[in-house]
Symmetry: C2
Subunit: 435 residues, 2 copies
C-alpha cells in the first residue's frame, strides 16, 4: 500500500454558464401537444414546435449512426439537405419508432410531413421529424393527420407551459421531464454596445442509452439567437460530443436518436456567422451547458436507476482517450451493478478502463503503474491498491450521484461521462416491453 | 407485410467432430486439486496439471488484451517467451485475481512459480499460471506455497476424476463444471498407415463474458497429439476466434482471461509440424469442437441466466462483419432482457445489428432492405415486418436455447455467437460481489 501523494491531473473543462431546469421559451417559437392515440395509455403523444418569425429558423441536427435508421430520421436528413439548414416546424411522435418499417414507413412519415406543412402553411421540406417507441410497428397515420390539423387549429402558444407539454408528450418510459434553459447576453444587432437577452432552451426524452432501441433520445434545442446554419451546426456537434455522446458507449446504437437545434433570430441579437469571438463563445457555452444538463438528467432518469454515475477522466494522452475511458467506466455492466450495491469494487473500474477502445478500435494509452482511481473522493488505487475504510466509503456512496475519478497520469486529456446503476427493475421493465 | 420467399444464405461452418462433456485424460498428463484457503468458503481453490512425459509439453496460449493484465498473465507470457512454447505444469488459483496488485502482485506470483517448480522439479520458466477472483486483492502466498508442496507430495493422478477436481477448484460463480473431450484418430509416428487414438480435452471456468472483471475465463486444453508450438498456437488462435471470442462483445475485457493449450505427444501419433494436411485438419477440428462446446457451456451457465442464446449470421459481406453482427446481437442488453421475457421483440435484434462495429471501429455492411431475421426458426423480418403468431412464437422461445438467425443478404460471410438472457438474479449477484 502507498499513500496517495501524487498530484491529480486537473480537469480542463471550460466553465459553463448556470442552467435552470425549466422550459423558458425563447422568442420566435410556439408549441403545442396532444394525443393521437399512438400510446396505448391515451396520454399525449404528438408534439409540435413552430417558428413564428417571418423567416424560417436556422436549423442543425445530429442523428443516429445506426444503419437501421428510422423513417423520420431519413426524412429529416433529406429535408435539412434540401433547405440547407432552414426549418419552420418540428413534430415529435411517441409510442411508435417508425423504424424497420420498410418503404411503407417512409410513405407514412411523408404523409405526416404533408399534414404538418399544410396545417401551418410552409414547404414540406421545412418540417423536421422525430419519433420514439417500438421498432417495427406502424404509425397510425390517419389519426396523426387529424391530430396535427386539430392541434394547429387550436393554436400554438409561446409559453413555458406549452413547451413543458411538449416534453410530456415526448416521454415514453421517462419518469421525469428533462429540460434546461440558459439565459445569456449577446451584442445587439443595432450595434451601439448594448447587449440583448437571449435564451437557449433544450428538452430531451430518453433515459440514456440504456435502452437504445426504444429510439433512445430525442432532443430539441431552441434559441432566439441569430446564427447561420454552418455555425450552429458546428456548435451543436461539439456540444453533443461532450454531452449526449458521453452517456454510454451504446450512445450511437438507437435507430431514432435525434438532436435538433433551431435558432429563430427573434432576440434581435447581432447575427453570428462564425464560431469564434466572444459572442460565439457565449452562445456555444450556453448550448454546451444545456446539452450537458440534459445528458446528466437523462442518466439520472435511467430506466430502473437509483443513482447518477459520473466518471471524470484526467491525465489521458489525449481527449479521445479520456472520452473512451470515461464512457467505458460508466458503461461497464459490472461497474453499474457495483454502484447498485454501494460496493466500492474499484477493480471493476480498473478492468473497464484497461479494456477501453478508441473509436478506431485501437486501445487507449494506459499504464497500470500510473493509474489512479477515486470513488466519491476517496483514493482507492494509485498504481497499487490503497488502504481505505470500506464501511465509510460505502456510506459515502449512498448518495444520488456517485463520482468516479480516473487519472491516467499521462497527459492533458480530460473528459466526463455519465451513466446510472443497473438494477433489478431495469431487467423487469425491459423483459416485457413490447407486450 | 411480405412473405419470406427469398432463400436464406447458407452457414459455411465446417462440420466439427462430436464432443462428450467429460474430462477424459489424454496421455502424458496428471492432475490434482486442493484448498489453500483463498476462497472464503474453504472449497478447493488450487489446481495443478503436470506433464508426465520425459520432455515438457508443447504449449500455446491466448491472453486477455486488457491493459490492466494480471500478474499471472504477465508471468505466463514471459515464461512462454523464454521457453519458446514449452511447459511442464499449469497452476490455477481461484478466489483472488492477483490483478491491479502492482509490483507486490508480481513478486507473489513469482513465489508461486518457485514453489511449483521446486515441488515438481522443473525450471521455473516451464510453469504456467492463471488466477481468477476479485481484482485488487492479494494472494495468500504462504498458504499457496504450502498447498502446492502438499498436493504434489500427495501425488497427481492421470484420471478423469482428477481433472474433474481441477475444474471444480477453478470454479467461482460457475454453477456447473464445463468440460469437453473429442477423441480422434491420427497417423501413428511409426508409419505403416496405422492410426492411433488421440484425445483433446478442454476445461474452462468463467460464466461467459458476463462478469469480465472476475477474471472471466480460464481454459486449459490438453492433448496427447504431438505438435510443434507454432502449429499448436495457430490452431488455438483460430479456434479461440470462433469460440471464446464469440461469447459477447465484452470478450476481451477481463484482466485475467487465459486459454492454455498443452500437447504432450504421448499418444505416439506422428508429430505435426504444420497446420495443413488431413491430420492437421483433424486435430484442428477437435480443438475447435472442444472450444466451441466450452464456449456454449459458458454462455448457458452465465450468471443468473436461464437461457442460452445463439445468434447465427449468414450472408455477411465477410466473416469479420458476420462475427461483429452476431456478437452485437447476443451482447445487446435489450436483446438479453427480451429473451428473459420470451418477448419476440425482433426490433431489438435489428437495432443491435445496425449498430455493430468491426474491430477497427468501422460500421459493418448492412442494408435494411436486405436484412432478414428469424427467432427460433420463425421469420419475423425480411426488409419489412412479417406477420407472425406472437403467442406461438412466445411458446417456441420457452426453451433452454433460443436461436436468432440473421441473414444480411450481401455475401458469404457467416459466424456464430453465444450469450444468455439478462435476469434479475444477475443484478442481485453482481451488486454485492466483493463483500
Amino acid at each position: 500500500m502507498t499513500s496517495a501523494s501524487r498530484t491529480t491531473s486537473p480537469v480542463l473543462r471550460p466553465v459553463l454558464p448556470p442552467v435552470v431546469e425549466r422550459t423558458l421559451m425563447p422568442a420566435g417559437f410556439a408549441a403545442i401537444a396532444g394525443s393521437a392515440g399512438i400510446k396505448a395509455s391515451g396520454r399525449p403523444d404528438v408534439a409540435i414546435v413552430t417558428v413564428t418569425t417571418p423567416a424560417p429558423a436556422t436549423a442543425a441536427a445530429t442523428f443516429t449512426r445506426n444503419l437501421v435508421a428510422a423513417a423520420p430520421v431519413r426524412l429529416s436528413r433529406a429535408h435539412l439537405a434540401a433547405t440547407a439548414g432552414r426549418a419552420r416546424a418540428v413534430i415529435v411522435t411517441a409510442g411508435c419508432a417508425n423504424a424497420a418499417t420498410g418503404a411503407g414507413g417512409d410513405a407514412d412519415q411523408a404523409r405526416v410531413a404533408n399534414a404538418l406543412a399544410s396545417a401551418i402553411g410552409c414547404p414540406i421540406e421545412e418540417t423536421l421529424h422525430a419519433a420514439t417507441g417500438l421498432i417495427g410497428t406502424t404509425l397510425p397515420v390517419e389519426r396523426i393527420e387529424q391530430a396535427v390539423g386539430a392541434l394547429v387549429g387550436a393554436g400554438l402558444a409561446a409559453t413555458e407551459d406549452a413547451l413543458g407539454n411538449v416534453v410530456a408528450a415526448m416521454m415514453t418510459t421517462d419518469r421525469r421531464p428533462k429540460r434546461a434553459t440558459v439565459e445569456l447576453l449577446l451584442p445587439a444587432a443595432d450595434g451601439g454596445g448594448a447587449d440583448v437577452a437571449v435564451r437557449v432552451t433544450g428538452i430531451v426524452k430518453g433515459v440514456g442509452m440504456i435502452h437504445p432501441n426504444m429510439a433512445t433520445m430525442i432532443a430539441v434545442l431552441l434559441t432566439d439567437a441569430a446564427v447561420d446554419p454552418a455555425t450552429l451546426g458546428a456548435m451543436l456537434r461539439r456540444a453533443v460530443r461532450t454531452s449526449f455522446d458521453q452517456l454510454t458507449v451504446d450512445g450511437d446504437t438507437s435507430t431514432n436518436d435525434t438532436v435538433f437545434a433551431l435558432a429563430s433570430g427573434a432576440s434581435r441579437a447581432a447575427p453570428l456567422v462564425r464560431d469564434d469571438g466572444i459572442a460565439a463563445e457565449r452562445l456555444e457555452g450556453a448550448i454546451a451547458a444545456v446539452c450537458r444538463s440534459l445528458a446528466r438528467q437523462q442518466a439520472a432518469d435511467g430506466e430502473g436507476a437509483t443513482t447518477l454515475v459520473t466518471c471524470t477522466v484526467t491525465g489521458a494522452a489525449d481527449e479521445t482517450d479520456a472520452r473512451a475511458v470515461s464512457r467505458a467506466v460508466v458503461g461497464g455492466t459490472l461497474v453499474k451493478a457495483a454502484i447498485r450495491g454501494r460496493d466500492p469494487n474499484w477493480g471493476r473500474v480498473a478492468g473497464a478502463a484497461g479494456a477501453a477502445r478508441r473509436p478506431d478500435g485501437s486501445q487507449v494509452r494506459l499504464v497500470p503503474e500510473r493509474l489512479r482511481i477515486s470513488l466519491c473522493g476517496t483514493a482507492v488505487f494509485a498504481g497499487e491498491p490503497l488502504a481505505f475504510d470500506a464501511a465509510a466509503l460505502r456510506r459515502a456512496m449512498d448518495v444520488p450521484e456517485v463520482t468516479i475519478d480516473v487519472d491516467l497520469g499521462l497527459g492533458d486529456g480530460a473528459a466526463e461521462a455519465w451513466g446510472c446503476d443497473l438494477t433489478e427493475d431495469y431487467v423487469r421493465e425491459n423483459a416485457e416491453y413490447s407486450t
